[in-house]
Symmetry: C2
Subunit: 240 residues, 2 copies
């Protein structure tokens, strides 16, 4: 069985539980049996081989073997603050950012944004993160942070390199980032709504130290812009 | 009216026609009238302001003003050869690659591929390219090339830098590409199906001069891998 299961609760003394959807998927969809070996991960960087010791309706109990893998965070961590698109595009965004190793997604509250990050929406996004982690082999969940305006974002990340996607900014590749050997670095990148940032937001961003960066000559959709920044970071800054 | 319309046929002597869907969208959905000004592009790099001179059921005739913009191709052109995913993921792939300025998409024929690039599928992909171009302001269509195996791909692009996405390859960012001042360069990158390339395909690719490149530590879905390569190329190699 090559499926991976997420542990909602941290393991205790070599024992762990699959709960809710994870338990149902394991027992009903895959018809796992006692003694079967599965792979589980805790969303905090660790994956284990685990042996099923008990199956109940909504709980599967497993005994953990030695950890298979422990992920260390990348040297450059990316926080993407995005004016969420609607519906399917939001779902895609979360799946792709998770696959591409983005550390944190912040629903960005903007003047012209169209989607509100309600508690229900956040729960849905978090479910999307778990699904993508299971599929792509990532053991550390992408964090879905509380919604924030640009001002709140700057206050939360006072020492990070702060970028804002805006036409006419410096091309992203000309932006000096970390040089090899630097300490762990955090990049915060803000991606605005379809209509763009309001001039007052841009003024506030400039005052808060966000540097405008351009993502090429075409008008990218929100999710494309965010995925492009995540890809660029993954493929350009995380060498072997 | 800010919509952009695609000219299926090249203009003749300052006159051009919107045909089929483009004509219906203009006349019925947007209820354009004679004398209205619209923007049109030919898919070969040129955009014009145009004045509507006649509206019929399936044809809208326009008189072209001076060109608004003529796109010159980027210095580094990217051809992505992709084992097409199915359904929505295929549609998504085409939209994103078009936005990100990929020059050409080749449906890659592989041992483990799941989607066939039939004539119908190609027509659908081409329609997706036009829709994305209209939205993102791109004036040169992304070409949907005829399907090819890795061997056929190498034969079609004998002088291009040829890359193949495969775990364990050299990180993409460590791959020497063009240096500033170089001539126009073409990169061909192959992205395989969910199950990966067959060992025989990998051997053939090595013999045909494809260099394996790694796209990070997670298992990327087909469309994510392709979009990541396109983003990396757009954001890393096309400075101002």
């Amino acid at each position: 069985m090559s499926d991976r299961f997420f542990l909602t609760e941290p393991p205790i003394g070599g024992r762990a539980f699959l709960l809710g959807d994870e338990a149902r998927h394991c027992s009903r969809v895959l018809r796992a049996k006692e003694g079967d070996t599965i792979r589980v991960f805790d969303g905090r960087g660790t994956e284990w081989l685990a042996s099923i010791t008990a199956l109940a309706r909504d709980t599967v109990t497993v005994a953990l073997a030695e950890p298979l893998a422990t992920e260390s965070g990348p040297r450059v961590q990316l926080t993407l603050a995005v004016a969420l698109p609607k519906g399917e595009r939001q779902k895609w965004l979360v799946e792709k950012l998770t696959e591409l190793g983005t550390a944190r997604l912040v629903p960005l509250v903007t003047e012209r944004g169209v989607a509100e990050a309600t508690e229900g929406a956040r729960a849905r996004l978090e479910r999307g993160v778990i699904e993508a982690c299971k599929q792509c082999g990532r053991n550390t969940l992408m964090e879905i942070a509380a919604p924030a305006t640009l001002g709140q974002l700057a206050a939360r990340h006072p020492t990070s390199l702060r970028l804002i996607a805006h036409p006419g900014g410096m091309p992203l590749c000309d932006q000096p980032i970390a040089s090899p050997g630097d300490e762990m670095q955090e990049i915060v990148a803000a991606v605005g709504p379809e209509g763009g940032f309001h001039p007052e937001e841009l003024a506030l961003a400039a005052a808060a130290g966000f540097r405008p960066v351009s993502l090429g000559s075409h008008i990218l959709r929100i999710e494309t812009a965010a995925i492009a920044v995540a890809s660029w970071k993954t493929l350009s800054l995380t060498s072997s």
